[in-house]
Subunit: 191 residues, 2 copies
DNA sequence: CAAAAAGGAATGAACGTTCATTCCTTTTAC
DNA sequence: GTAAAAGGAATGAACGTTCATTCCTTTTTG
């Protein structure tokens, strides 16, 4: 196994185990075993478990955001761009359930709270296409004049909830249901 | 300290510590210390940590549901009943942040998934005022004809997200914002 | 009524287990 | 042959739980 392969194996094993069993249900020894490497080897690639968890988060998030931007209809209406995001996001979660579960685990942990605090209250300069879309929506009076955080909640709250329900098997989302869920979210944020 | 007092102390300490630091950030020894009892004493009231966590969940949930039903306008329109729930729920979470955080921790853990599975897929016979409201909304064509699970997501998804943002200090909800958030949720589910 | 005995609630040190991390040996790469 | 990489047993800290003992209340006895 070549060097980058080993890192990939570790990251993949960590993703699977943490997505399925949570941070505390995924001991380093188990990650090592599933990755097919020695326990000590992980520490050649990651300083400690926290570092592994954080780096994995960034990789999963980047992969998702990159995917989200493919085919983004930059020139279309706000509504269409909003629906694009909703649809693509839901599809992404459904076809990458491990990624979704991992992101959820992360966000619902102290790691995620700290991360979100930085993101929302911290430096704005970073490229944030969601923020741009919502700010444009509010200032052009196409969306309700509510704080960004609430518009985010109205949009992502339901999307995350239905993605979770689908992945846990409480419902089966098809294309029509995905589209109608996106529309319903739009009804929530639109003026 | 009388006998029921001790149980109360344990439950209160567990609520505080778990709400703040999660299940794994609240060792039994720490719960015992905060409760002002010996570590072994907890096991006189609860068989084990799981039992403590589950019983605490049921108490917190019951307290909340009871509160939610006070002043429920049984005879008013579906819209008004929906808005009542949204408002009262948000207010409850804001004034009981520990309860909210505990419920979140629970729902985002294996405990919660199992619990939800029973609730959604399992026996329907249990009294569930939410389910009744949404079923009435759909059948009377006041709400969108979507699966109940999705209507739930459209309603509670944003409410939970907003409550979390308030409690974590990302936004400050006042009466007006609470009302407008509820209305926005209604826009999402209404036909 | 007072003293002794019993009962059972409370305690916290101790135990066994689990885990992240380290350390030293073995293997690989060049 | 040597240095880097990998391996996995060893380590020690932290955890949930147990249990022998203490403490306090209640009951019994004379």
């Amino acid at each position: 196994m070549t060097k980058p392969d080993k890192r990939e194996e570790i990251v993949g094993a960590a993703l699977e185990l943490i997505a399925e069993h949570g941070f505390h249900g995924a001991p380093m020894a188990m990650i090592a075993e599933r990755a097919g490497v020695g326990a000590g080897t992980i520490y050649r690639y990651f300083e400690n478990k926290d570092e592994l968890i954080n780096q994995l988060y960034r990789e999963v998030e980047k992969k998702m955001v990159d995917d989200l931007l493919v085919g983004y209809p930059m020139e279309k209406t706000i509504r269409e761009r909003f629906l694009h995001f909703g649809t693509v996001l839901l599809r992404y979660f459904i076809s990458h359930p491990l990624d979704f579960r991992y992101l959820e685990q992360f966000h619902n942990s102290p790691y995620g709270v700290e991360y979100r605090r930085d993101r929302i209250l911290g430096k704005k300069e970073e490229f944030d296409i969601f923020r741009d879309l919502f700010e444009e929506g509010v200032s052009s009076r196409v969306m309700k004049d509510l704080p960004l955080v609430i518009l985010f909640a109205l949009s992502f709250g339901p999307l995350l909830a239905v993605a979770r329900d689908h992945i846990l098997g409480f419902i089966t989302l098809d294309d029509e249901l995905i589209a109608r869920t996106g529309e319903a979210c739009w009804d929530g944020v639109k003026q």
